[in-house]
Amino acid sequence: MVIAAALGAAFILLPFVGLLRRVRWASLPGDLGAGPARTALLLSLGSSLAATALALVLGAPLAWVLARMDFRGRGVLRALVTLPMVLPPVVGGAALLAAWGRSYGLLGAWLHDAAGVQLTFSWWGVVVAEAFVAMPFLVLALEGGIASVDRRYEQAAATLGAAPMARLALVTGRLLLPSLAAGLALAWARALGEFGATITFAGNIEGRTQTAPLAVYLLLESDPEAAYALSVALVAVCVAVLAALRGRWWGVRR
């Protein structure tokens, strides 16, 4: 059994060992600090943070409702809003085009004609695509956290005269911090790694919509060294996220 487990671990770890061996460490700063790799990395950092913020704004109320309100179809709603987690990202991109595309989109055509806003091929398009795939992670983590908050703390605060907003900020909010942090970190890591929905919906414009994963794919053909350097940078970010979470998955274990 131990041998089988070692095989399983090796299966996951071997590609990373390969990546670390393949990268040219001496020129790593140069490969990352210049040209399309640098542009893409900065763009990815900005857009993924914005996507995480968007996921929080849209996802937090949803998590609250899913955790606290009992209504018909709650399970179905939860399953539907987590669909982007399991969907092939390129299908997500196609769906986003069908909703927000200027030419053939459900709302996109109206948005363009009425407000002059076009999401496709724009930086905001990247943010929307990343938030679309990342939000379910935040919703699930936060919902788990909210559901496991002991409501007697809130009741105690209420009997002591705390107003609803004060209760939310001082009592419930405090208890939710770990799951909120876990949800934000997972959503951010997912947004940072987004490829399929981004290239389908936002395109591949250098300096505007070409994110780090897109740059890795393109650089593998033209400048493999830079591609591997960028890959290692993305792995490092994800490892940092996992380290920061320290096993606090989904916020259920406290």
Binding site: T120, N204, I205, E206, G207, E221, S222
Partner: protein, 257 residues
């Protein structure tokens, strides 16, 4: 090429046999059998799908697997050891790179020609008449710089004296993806192969580029050195260059080499 020629003759003879004439017996007598992996430029997709079908009809014991991507991507795959038998690219430079890394069995041959065209949204709402008008287009889709169709598009733009800022250019991963940005997405125009423009039908309007301002894209085909199916690979190459292959390519808009 002598061997390939002989095999091609044999192939044509088998193909010319009456369709219903004892296929099982014909398959048993056919020395060509096995599975052939053909890596082809994305722009060859439709034409090679038909060629593969016809080839299989002539040689029932053969199965052809098509692997479609950008020529540059396919070169990278072969160089990293992908088990490919035949490689068909949208240029000849891809073969130079394969030859330099020792992945080619022999000198490749040119087998088809293509040219570039501009595609725009149906009805041409931005009134694009030629490459020079692309400067006024919000989002132009071009192939990646390292991909053949990207190099051809760059040559067309350079000939017209057009410099597009990179901030208005979205780069498709291959020729077909670049077309899709206009056909299914929100890009306003793209410089793509004339064959792809034609395949898109009514999803786009095509603006032809006159020969004087256009390029000639020469497609090459070759056998990968490490193939364990050399005879089968040679036979497929000969078929592509033979009458059936030429007919299929012509039907999809490709010119003779």
């Amino acid at each position: 090429m002598a061997l390939a020629g002989l095999v091609a003759l044999a192939g044509s003879a088998a193909g010319a046999a009456p369709a219903g004439a004892l296929p099982a017996a014909r398959a048993a007598a056919d020395p060509l059998r096995g599975e052939l992996t053909v890596s082809a430029a994305a722009s060859l997709g439709d034409a090679f799908a038909r060629i593969a079908r016809d080839f299989r009809r002539a040689h029932p014991a053969v199965r052809v697997r098509l692997n479609l991507a950008s020529s540059a991507g396919l070169v990278a795959q072969i160089q990293s050891g992908a088990p490919v038998d035949v490689f068909a690219a949208a240029d000849l430079a891809s073969f130079d790179r394969l030859a330099a890394s020792g992945h080619l069995a022999r000198t490749p041959v040119a087998f088809a020609r293509n040219r570039m065209a501009i595609v725009v949204k149906p009805g041409n709402p931005l009134a694009v008449r030629g490459p020079a008008d692309l400067t006024g287009v919000p989002v132009v889709a071009l192939c990646g710089r390292t991909v053949p169709c990207g190099a051809y598009a760059a040559a067309v733009l350079a000939r017209a004296g057009v410099a597009l800022p990179e901030s208005r250019v979205t780069r498709g991963l291959d020729a077909r993806a670049t077309l899709t940005a206009v056909a299914a997405g929100d890009a306003d125009a793209a410089v793509v192969y004339a064959t792809d423009a034609r395949a898109a039908g009514r999803a786009v309007t095509t603006v032809e580029i006159p020969a004087a301002g256009n390029v000639v894209a020469v497609y090459g085909i070759g056998v990968v050195r490490d193939t364990p199916r050399r005879a089968l690979a040679d036979a497929f190459v000969a078929w592509v260059r033979g009458p059936e292959g030429r007919a299929a390519l012509a039907a999809h808009g490709f010119g003779r080499p």
